[in-house]
């Protein structure tokens, strides 16, 4: 589990990095530690896999990705591992998860596909399905972003 100090570091770095010459020094001051201590902690989070990365997230709609689909696939349970890995290997697939099924909802593998248009999404998904022999799938295009915020961990 995380120490109280580590939780404070999580709270600090889950926000925006200030755009100034020494941004980590500014964060460290708020935490009451040195810049070096903060940087060591962030390195340590990366090594432990707590942090996936420390970097930028873009609004994909604004860099030309106008086609964004959640694809739900029905994959035979004993093929889920090779199929999941094969779908994950496509560069335009950003997320790929196996998820629980519920009665009346047979889809067990989910991927996010981002292309420049919906037509390109459809074409890519058709090719993936053909290549992997998966015939049952649906594309759910996003038509509106109702909420998109960065998760605030350890709020209290």
């Amino acid at each position: 589990m995380l120490s109280e100090f580590e939780k404070r570091v999580v709270r600090e770095i889950q926000g925006d990095l200030p755009l100034e010459s020494r941004p980590f020094a500014a964060m460290a001051r708020r935490l009451g530690v040195t810049e070096g201590q903060l940087l060591d902690t962030v390195e340590n989070f990366l090594e432990r896999g707590l942090l996936r990365r420390f970097g930028a997230a873009l609004r994909h709609q604004r860099v030309g990705y106008g086609g964004n689909a959640l694809v739900a696939w029905v994959v035979p349970p004993d093929e889920i591992e090779p199929v999941g890995n094969a779908i994950a290997a496509y560069p335009d697939v950003t997320h790929c998860y196996q998820r629980a099924t519920v009665p009346g909802w047979p889809y067990n593998l989910y991927s996010m596909v981002h292309r420049h248009s919906e037509a390109e999404c459809r074409e890519l998904v058709r090719r993936i399905g053909e290549a992997l022999g998966i015939e049952q799938y649906i594309l759910l295009f996003s038509t509106a972003e109702l909420k998109r915020s960065s998760m605030q961990y350890f709020r209290d």
């Binding site: 940087l39 896999g49 996936r52 994950a88 950003t94």
Partner: protein
């Protein structure tokens, strides 16, 4: 906004990893052959143009002890705004999208325990009166890589 070649290379670098150093923007400048001031100026521009969503830490929620689920709700067209307001008010919900399906509202719930995830789910059902709900917790992660290739795009919109 027009993106020049330096903007594109800058976006590639910062999507990967910000240098964990005392002056990260000066280090990025060295890689790009520009000064620290120009890096900061370009980043401010890209942030104002809403191309950059956030620069900071992106965590593996499970490794922080959090658990979650992907939910889908069947919302009648004339209730979308009202139902979205109920759902979006929860800090445990970070993503909510309208999608082209009978199950048209898709959102995530993330919380420190399974019981809290279920409480949010139950409250949303009770407050909206909608019980056509799917809850699809992840059983296995094959990929998460939220990095976009900006080099092949002529202009940002």
């Amino acid at each position: 906004m027009q993106l020049d070649n330096t903007d594109r290379r800058l976006l590639e670098i910062i999507q990967r990893q910000i240098p964990l150093s005392s002056r990260p923007f000066a280090d990025i400048g060295v890689e790009l052959g520009i000064g620290e001031g120009e890096v900061l100026e370009r980043l401010r521009r890209l942030q104002e143009a809403k191309i950059i969503r956030r620069i900071g830490g992106f965590f593996d929620s499970r490794k922080l002890g959090y658990t979650g689920t992907l939910c889908a709700l069947q919302v009648p067209r004339d209730r979308i705004e009202e139902v979205a307001a109920v759902i979006n008010a929860y800090s445990e919900v970070s993503h909510n999208y309208l999608r082209t399906h009978e199950y048209n509202m898709w959102f995530t719930i993330l919380a420190p325990s399974q019981s809290e995830v279920e409480r949010v789910m139950e409250e949303i059902k009770a407050r909206t009166g909608i019980d056509s709900v799917l809850s699809l917790p992840a059983e296995r992660l094959f990929k998460i890589r939220v990095k976009f290739n900006v080099s092949e795009v002529p202009d940002a919109e």
